[in-house]
Amino acid sequence: MTEDLLYSGTDWNFQIIRNCYDAIEEIAEKELGLDVFSNRIEIITSEQMLDVYTSSGMPLGYRHWSYGKRFVSHENAYRKGLMGLAYEVVINSDPCISYLMEENTATMQALVIAHAAFGHNHFFKNNRLFQEWTEPSQILNYLEFARGYIARCEEIHGVRAVERVLDAAHALQGQGVHRHSGTRRVDLRAEQERARERRAWEDQSYNDLWRTLPLSAEESSGGTNPADLSARRQLGLPEENILYFLEKHGPRLASWEREIIRIVRLIAQYFHPQPQLKLMNEGCATWVHDEIMSCLHKKGKIDDAAFMEALHSTSNVINQPGFDQGSASFNPYALGFAIMKDIARIATAPSEEDRLWFPDIAGNNQPLETLRHAWAEYRDESFIRQFLSPKVIRDFRMFRLEDDAAQSYFLVDAIHDDAGYRDIRRVLADSYDPSNWSVGLEIVHADMQGSRTLHLEHRTSSGRLLHDKDAALTLSALADLWGYQVSLKEVDMESGATLGLRESSPE
């Protein structure tokens, strides 16, 4: 059998990687039926891995001090040994780029190819949320455009001026997505064209003569935005996407500043689905690599030592420390993997309980179809709500706490028993619901006729107010971009009572 082995020992070379890739591809396509973007595998050093971390996995990004800060903290953690580097990083792009660390052993390279180039890749390509929100074929081009555009702005307007806009736009990044409207996917290539055309038009239509005309009273008092004259409804209020609103209606912004805000907004949008899909994405990739490595071993393509190493690595990744071991949240790899394993089990060897809980999939003997359907159609929140089974709840020994701030204790109000399964599942699913962690902030009114004050509303309840100091800083960043006074009212969702009011004026 040894002549069938893809490699032996720990060293790898490019031929081994290629052979592994081919063997894995065969399994992924023929046996697991995965559908992936074409792959590109890049080998990088640990230093380059730190760079990749800094830019959220992207191979390029515009220059900004915040990336320097991230780089320094990653670098320090790494140098002190607090943080190990990931074995791989994968980018949702087409072709799908996987970065592999040069330090990995041959087994680890095979494992991360299965994990990233097939597991994550399949998920990126097929999950509905990714399909709706991101444009994988164009993201790299767009990032390149963004980098070039911002560098040019720095040349023309100075680093300080650009930094001011970027700082403020970054602060409002969380408010840069149209969560609820239909327009999601943006044609990023058309974006570059649009910016180019706009610039070309400005260059063509520039006539120095106009500069010599005396300003009208209206113009000299502020902006020349046509929105000045339009009614509130024309502003499209209320608007949750603050960056979008600034870009379209900010009275004092120059066109390049609008473009920068747009760049920050579109990149934020690209990353928008990721936190909603972390659990499923990692679960899917782990499940796929686990399956593929077992399959390679079964076929005699890797030896026992390599398979043990793969198992060891997998079990490290899916380790879930208990609440008393300092872990207040679930390891997405562990929970995602466990639920997916469980789905496969329910489909092939269901118990009575499973038939009761999952009548539509129990015993259908189609584990792959069931999983692929789940990977495509769900996000973390709905996935847990739908598929978290009593068995996984028991395996993780989950329990629910009631945290009443008025009490000096936490109350255990559900554990892994018949009475508690549904409560636990509902609350766990809620905690993955983005509406639970994002801030419900809206622009409700902009007084374009008078003082040009921008009015924002945060709909919340009395115990959940904005972080005081951060809110003040962010609001002043907003005021800086808006150019006039900004006010933010915190309103109780149910009673409509005002819970707090902040104001900020540009400096």
Binding site: F14, N39, Q48, R63, F71, V72, V159, S327, A405, H467
Partner: protein, 438 residues
């Protein structure tokens, strides 16, 4: 599938971002650097260091919600013993610690209370010395040294081919071609095509024959003109011209004088050495053409090299004037005042043999001060300094200083004071107009 080996790609992608982060936190980092120096050993200043700054300086605010009151539920794992209805003591730090639930504790959460920067030597020194200047570095004489540097100086009509300015050459060429009316090759081709067309016909009418001969004449004319007026003529050629510009440079010399006599305790010598070390690094960093002369003295003075000056112990009595004589001797021999800017820094405990003090003041006022730009005297004092009051040397120097502003005097009694005193001596003066740096 492609496999790409990126390992040899250019490294340091984030260096610019890191530099910007450093720039943004500049004042905080600067404070941290100075704290580090005042606590640590200065000998290591030049080697770069790591400093921690508070996270505030690089904070990125966002809108986010904090849970303070009301009821919320959490699901945790790893239940071993609880049953429904159990109560858990709230952890002491607990309460509204978690921001808005789970799921996002990763990136922003832990470890953001301070940032560590590993600074290299240049960054460290840049931050450390920040805004300091060498006082009154008046350019006495610009020496045309051997070093010159090429500098763009317009265009010339001859030069080496590698310096050909293609765009300009072609511009001239085009202007000349238009001006002299060189026929375009398209024009010639058109005529030739027509001729060929006519010639290929078997029989030609008279009109066509006339046209043909006319065209043939035109063809000859065009060809002649094209050969007479070349595409690119030597008169079109333009070359970038470089002129060798001599680099002006000012020369400066710094004399460092230190008392190493018996009355200087190790601690005091240490203070003095720290002062000179700062000075040394500062000068090394800021000026490329500064000579340093190290003179140490007890009852007699000698010029020593840097290593001996800082590291070699020696004791004895104190005759300050011997050091000043040494300064004058070295200055006369090697550093003529017309060509050099001369600075002197002296560190002493203020002790001097009684008979020598007036001679020292005299040497200082008449021998040294007339030729120097700046004379900094620091007096290091022991812990009992307050009781001792003014020393002889201090008093006599004080008299001189009142007549001559080029003499600056400061006292240092503690390690922490070194840097403030140093800054004080070398912070830019309002009236330092005309100062020129090399």
């Amino acid at each position: 599938m492609d496999i790409i080996d990126r390992r040899s790609n250019p490294h340091g992608k984030n260096m610019e971002n890191r530099r910007r982060a450093l720039e943004r936190a500049r004042s905080a980092v600067q404070q941290a650097v100075r704290d580090a120096v005042s606590q640590g050993k200065i000998r290591q200043v030049g080697e770069g260091n790591s400093v921690s700054i508070p996270a505030d300086a690089l904070h990125e605010p966002t809108f986010h919600v904090v849970f303070t009151s009301g009821i919320r539920h959490l699901v945790l794992s790893g239940n071993k013993e609880f049953v429904k209805g159990d109560r858990l003591r709230r952890p002491p730090s607990g309460g509204g610690k978690g921001d808005s639930g789970q799921g996002e504790a990763g990136d922003e959460g832990g470890g953001e209370d301070s940032y560590r920067f590993l600074l290299n030597r240049d960054e460290f020194l840049d931050l450390f010395f920040g805004d300091l200047e060498l006082p009154d570095l008046v350019k006495r004489e610009i020496l045309t040294t051997d070093s010159t540097s090429p500098s763009r100086a317009g265009l010339s009509s001859d030069g080496s081919p590698s310096q050909l300015d293609l765009a300009r050459t072609m511009r001239y060429s085009m202007a000349r071609r238009i001006g002299l009316g060189r026929p375009k090759s398209a024009e010639l081709l058109e005529v030739e095509a027509r001729i060929q067309e006519l010639e290929s016909k078997e029989s030609l009418t008279d009109i066509a024959l006339d046209e043909l001969s006319g065209l043939q004449e035109q063809r000859i004319r065009l060809r002649q003109r094209m050969t007479r007026i070349p595409w690119v003529d030597p008169v079109d050629l333009r070359f970038r011209r470089y002129a060798q510009v001599p680099k002006p440079s000012t020369r400066a010399v710094m004399f460092c004088i230190m008392d190493v006599s018996g009355s200087m305790t190790e601690r005091m010598k240490d203070l003095a050495k720290q002062f000179f070390l700062l000075l040394h690094i500062f000068l090394e960093k800021r000026y490329t053409r500064v000579d340093l002369v190290f003179i140490r003295h007890a009852e007699s003075a000698e010029e020593v090299d840097e290593e001996t000056f800082f590291n070699d112990p020696r004791t004895g009595g104190t005759v300050v004037s011997s050091a000043l004589e040494e300064v004058i001797k070295v200055q006369k021999a090697r550093y003529p005042a017309q060509q050099w800017n001369i600075y002197v820094a002296q560190a002493s405990d203020g002790d001097n043999s009684l008979s020598d003090t007036s001679r020292t003041a005299d040497l200082l006022e008449n021998g040294i001060l007339p030729v120097v730009q700046y004379y900094a005297y620091i007096e290091v004092t022991g812990s009992g300094a307050i009781i001792r009051g003014e020393t002889d040397l201090w008093r006599s120097y004080g008299t001189v200083a009142s007549r001559c502003p080029r003499l600056a005097m400061r006292r240092v009694s503690d390690r922490r004071e070194i840097f403030p005193v140093f800054r004080d001596l070398f912070s830019p003066r309002e009236n330092a107009g005309g100062g020129v740096m090399s």
